[in-house]
């Protein structure tokens, strides 16, 4: 009962958020809608009994990536010229125009055709299993992280290091040698 409610509400949140991201003409609003979509995904993780992932989704995406995006919007949105949009160069172009939306719609349709075909085939192949009982995943993930996936664990730290150094290097204003 509650499972279904949680699933449906999270799914609705996710999908509606995603659609709103597509349709919103305002970048800041799109980012807010992305936030709701991400929270919905977190709810979906909960229904899949991936509780740790749900929390990670909240911490990393909501607390991190979205704020990063918001900051980036504010850092790039400054232009006092009134003839342009708040966040772009031209009024319409940054958030798309009829041409791009048509293109996007066509591509999305194309993808939809293909992926629906995949999904149909896959669901035929996979036996319809009941949901296994809900269980906690934190300890199991911890064990996996230091046994089977220890290399990935360590390498991810290297990845993060690279991202940190690279991004700091790029974002830092510096003098360019001519």
């Amino acid at each position: 009962m509650f499972d279904n409610f949680l699933f449906i509400s999270s799914a609705a949140l996710t999908v509606c958020g995603a659609l709103a991201v597509v349709l919103s003409p305002n970048l800041m609003h799109a980012c807010t809608y992305l936030l709701t979509s991400l929270i919905g995904v977190s709810g979906l993780y909960v229904t899949l009994s991936a509780d740790f992932l749900a929390a990670t989704q909240l911490v990393v995406y909501v607390g991190g990536v979205v704020i990063l995006m918001l900051f980036a919007i504010m850092l790039t949105g400054g232009n006092d010229n009134k003839s342009v949009n708040k966040f772009g160069i031209e009024k319409i172009a940054p958030m798309g125009n009829i041409k791009t939306f048509t293109l996007a719609g066509l591509s999305a349709l194309l993808m939809a055709l293909v992926i629906s075909k995949i999904i149909v085939n896959v669901t035929k192949a996979v036996p319809k299993g009941e949901l296994p009982p809900f269980s906690s995943t934190v300890e199991k993930i911890g064990e996996l992280l230091i046994t089977d996936h220890v290399l990935a664990f360590e390498i991810s730290s290297v990845l993060l290091l690279g991202a940190l150094i690279g991004a700091a290097l790029i974002a830092r204003p510096r003098k360019i040698e001519s």
């Binding site: 609003h29 749900a54 934190v138």
Partner: protein, 398 residues
Amino acid sequence: MNETVVTFFSGSHPYQVVTELLTRYLGFNATGLLTVVTFFVACFVIVNVMALVGGLGTYAERKISADMQMRQGPNRVGPFGILQFLADGVKMIMKEDIVPKDSDKMIFFIAPILCMAGVFATLAVLPFSSGFTLTHLNIGVFYLLGVSSVVGVGIFLGGYSSNSKWSMIGGMRGASQIISYEVPVTLSIIAMVLLGGGLNFKDIVGAQGGLPHQWFIFHNPFTVISFIVFFIGALAETNRAPFDLPEAESELVSGYHTEFTGMRFAFFALAEYVEVFVLCGVAVALYLGGYQVPFELSDTFLLHNKIGLPLGPARILGQLLEVGGFVSKTCALYYVVIWIRWTLPRLRVDQLMTLCWKYLTPIALINLVGVAFWVYYFDGESMWNLIFKSGAAAAGGH
């Protein structure tokens, strides 16, 4: 096992009787319905209590600051002015709701909701007692971190949406301050999780005891520093003085909620006060023994078999004792927070960032490593245990 307030009650006789009766009269299995109702009632109670806490927080703040400044403070409404917050509430709801013309209306509406939702969602795992906690999630602390990070987004959007320069600066400052101080706080929490061996508050609190030497704060030298780091970080995360730069009245008028009037402002304020309470509660649960009562007085077995109370009242009394322990410790911390606000001057923004990144974060990292080494070398024994053991050995033990 994931325990909730429902599992606590569902073991009791009256609850089962009610379930049976309802099932009989309604014609379907009423377990689910009763679960929802129980949860709803519990949530409602806790939300109301928290609203009360928020209200009393403002009152306490004013009264304590008055005490410190040798003034009277609010003293007209009710005895000692204790009903002042109700009067404030009424005033708030009667105020005109002004939405700036150039503002982003949608986000202007959403921002307080994000703050409120983020703060209230943290209440779900706040461990008032072993039974009366809404739910002991397996990812308790981590969940709390994730949900409370929504507040940062709320503050940023609040500052952004009003299209006022003060608000914008306040919002940027608030968001960057909150995320910055989340780093040392997270690192301190990881150290405690290492000691407690679980993210669940029940595990962490259960690993501690009722007496101070069993608390994690005095577990080893690192945890003391860890507590200080956590506490400073919590102050900054809730934008409390001396870290109230996002709403620094002398610089930014009123910071990110400059343009919010009436109830919208009230919600921001309420969210802040409740968040302070919640973070004090987390500090208590992580470091100060949580709901543990000294000498295990709250033990149902003790109350039921040794003292002779009936089972039901014994359980309830035990839980109430635990709630009392938790709330009293939390209120003590709350007092410290207010005390700090009226004692220390506000930091400058560069000092704020320096404190976070150049002092607290390295200290928290070293602490984390230190705690990990402690757990490794002493097998998780607290320093008191080691002292007692070595003392016993010196006194002729084996």
